[in-house]
């Protein structure tokens, strides 16, 4: 594995007195796609928020390109090259699609490059071009997700943090979005950290996966191997094991507890 561009070591993050992340460590290699799987409330979003600086860890460190960035303001983290596509899209509802994209390039000073990237993202998502002068709030959920991804891309990030891009989208749209995510990774060399509940899609797209449960990493392996594991199949992919008598074992336990 290449030298990690992003290295998270033993972070602990609290919501007030509640410990949401209980010592999580993982690496994201340069140019790779890494996924973090987990159920509701496992702490996936909190991990991303800790990386991008919206939340501060009490302990542990986040290193980006060898430099510690925990407890930095989010706008400064972003300037280093980490773009965040937040859960629930969070577009600017009263700005047009084009203005939203320009905001994505807020930190850049090269108008030519920005114009070029604008046409690239319109190439990825032609529907955004059609709606370029519409207010972002009037787009459908899927279009808003496309806009959120494009907006993050406009900053020419080195790393993109994607928080549940499949949330609330139709299966067809999910395929489309993941297809683009793969292309972004291949064509532009953007390293991707993907947080997902849709384990099936995430494991297909990513190279390496971590499983997060109640604030802890309980499993880490390449995605190909993760897909073969019984626990992943049972609890994340929903593939049901048929027992010898043609019945499902009703007391199946996760092996990592």
């Amino acid at each position: 594995m290449a030298e990690p561009i992003l290295k998270v070591s033993n972070i602990e993050t609290y919501y007030g007195p509640i410990m949401a992340i209980r010592g999580v460590s993982f690496d994201v290699p340069q140019g790779g796609i890494v996924t973090i799987l987990g159920a509701n409330g496992a702490g996936k979003t909190t991990v991303l928020k800790t990386i991008c600086g919206v939340m501060d860890p009490q302990k542990g460190s986040v290193a980006f390109e060898g430099r510690e960035i925990q407890r930095t303001d989010p706008d400064k983290v972003m300037r280093l090259g980490i773009s965040h596509v937040p859960e629930g899209r969070e577009v600017f509802p009263f700005l047009t699609v084009r203005e939203n994209l320009r905001m994505g390039a807020y930190t850049r000073r090269d108008p030519d490059g920005v114009a070029q990237d604008m046409s690239t993202v319109f190439g990825y998502f032609p529907v955004l071009k059609e709606r370029a002068d519409q207010r972002a709030g009037s787009l459908s959920g899927g279009e808003q997700q496309m806009l959120a991804i494009s907006r993050a891309l406009m900053a020419r990030p080195k790393v993109m943090l994607l928080d549940e891009p499949s949330l609330g989208l139709s299966p067809k749209l999910v395929l489309e979005i993941f297809d683009i995510v793969t292309r972004i990774n291949r064509e532009r060399g953007v390293t991707i950290l993907l947080v997902e509940q849709n384990a099936n899609m995430a494991l297909k797209v990513a190279d390496y996966g971590y499983v997060l449960e109640v604030g802890r990493i309980v499993m880490a392996d390449t995605c190909a191997r993760l897909m073969e594991k019984d626990d992943i199949k049972e609890f994340y992919l929903g593939i049901k094991d048929q027992g010898a008598r043609g019945q499902r074992r009703w007391k199946k336990r996760k092996t990592w507890r």
Binding site: C52, V54, D73, P74, D75, M78, R79, S83, H84, P86, G88, E90, V91, F92, P93, F94, L95, E99, N100, R102, M103, G104, Y106, T107, R151, A152, A155
Partner: protein, 284 residues
């Protein structure tokens, strides 16, 4: 006559605009807005009368000084109360307002001053007398609003301000320096209040309490227009100004000051979101 109401309404509108800008961006209600207006008028007075500077130079100095002051106020005091209960913010800004008035009375005394202006003549158009003072207020408001509109829609930082007020977290993710933007919005808001104060100075004269009544009516204007709507603030201000004037002219003594609030109460009963209400629009 209508012009007078319009002019006073413009002043209310400008102060209301200050309320709305700050509220939209930071969700704080700044009750010291009227006192910023008063401070602005005093600084202009000091520059023009004490130092003998040109009116326009004094104007510019006052706007810049108060704008910088507004930004510093945000950076040092108000940023700490973001996210605290609204009540704390209300108390804090009312307290700041009282401090400004005390400061003004210590520095400039409690006399009433007149700011000399270049607008003293009158035009008579078709038998109607138009005083330059009032015309200057309306014209000043129009120019300022045009400039602000251009700024917010056509400059990078202006659009970033809109973005920040729509979704603060997402603005952070875009690398927009949200804290700096907040300070800039305070600066603009304080600058607008100063312009209002200087334009108003020849009409009401300058004294330490000039901001109080204006701010209260401007607050009513902002609510009338639908708190959080910029055109609403201006239209609300003009409506309040006109109501006040006509009530003063046609209704018995005392209605001049109460009529705007009666209208406000009726408005809240009939259409609580205000004229240009945005209730429920800002959901993401």
């Amino acid at each position: 006559m209508t012009l007078n109401g319009l002019a006073v309404g413009c002043i209310y509108g400008l102060v209301a605009l200050g309320f709305v800008l700050i509220y939209k961006a930071t969700e704080l209600v700044n009750f010291a807005q009227g006192d910023l207006l008063m401070l602005g008028a005093f600084v202009a007075y000091m520059a023009v009368v004490w130092w003998g500077l040109d009116y326009w130079v004094g104007f510019a100095i006052a706007v810049v000084v108060i704008a910088v002051f507004g930004a510093l106020l945000d950076a040092t005091v108000l940023r700490r109360v973001i996210g605290q209960p609204q009540f704390a913010v209300v108390m804090l800004t009312i307290g700041l307002g009282a401090m400004f008035r005390t400061f003004a009375s210590v520095t400039w005394g409690s006399e009433i001053y007149t700011l000399p202006t270049p607008f003293s003549g009158v035009w008579t158009v078709g038998g109607v007398t138009l005083s330059h003072q009032y015309l200057s207020i309306v014209a000043g408001t129009l120019v300022l609003c045009g400039a602000l509109y251009g700024f917010f829609t056509h400059t990078r930082i202006g659009v970033a301000m809109q973005a920040t007020s729509q979704n603060q977290l997402a603005a952070y993710y875009m690398g927009i320096p949200v804290k700096l933007i907040f300070s800039l919005i305070w600066a603009i808001s304080a600058g607008v209040a100063t312009v209002a104060g200087i334009l108003l100075a020849p009409v009401t004269l300058i004294d330490i309490n000039m901001g109080l009544a204006v701010a209260l009516k401007a607050f009513a204007a902002a609510v009338l227009g639908g708190f959080g709507s910029i055109p609403g603030a201006l239209v609300g201000g003009i409506i309040i100004g006109l109501i006040e004037l006509y009530a003063g002219a046609t209704l018995p003594e005392g209605f001049k000051d109460t009529a705007p609030y009666i209208v406000l109460l009726l408005m809240l009963a009939v259409r609580p979101q205000g004229l240009f209400g945005t209730l429920g629009r800002k959901k993401v």
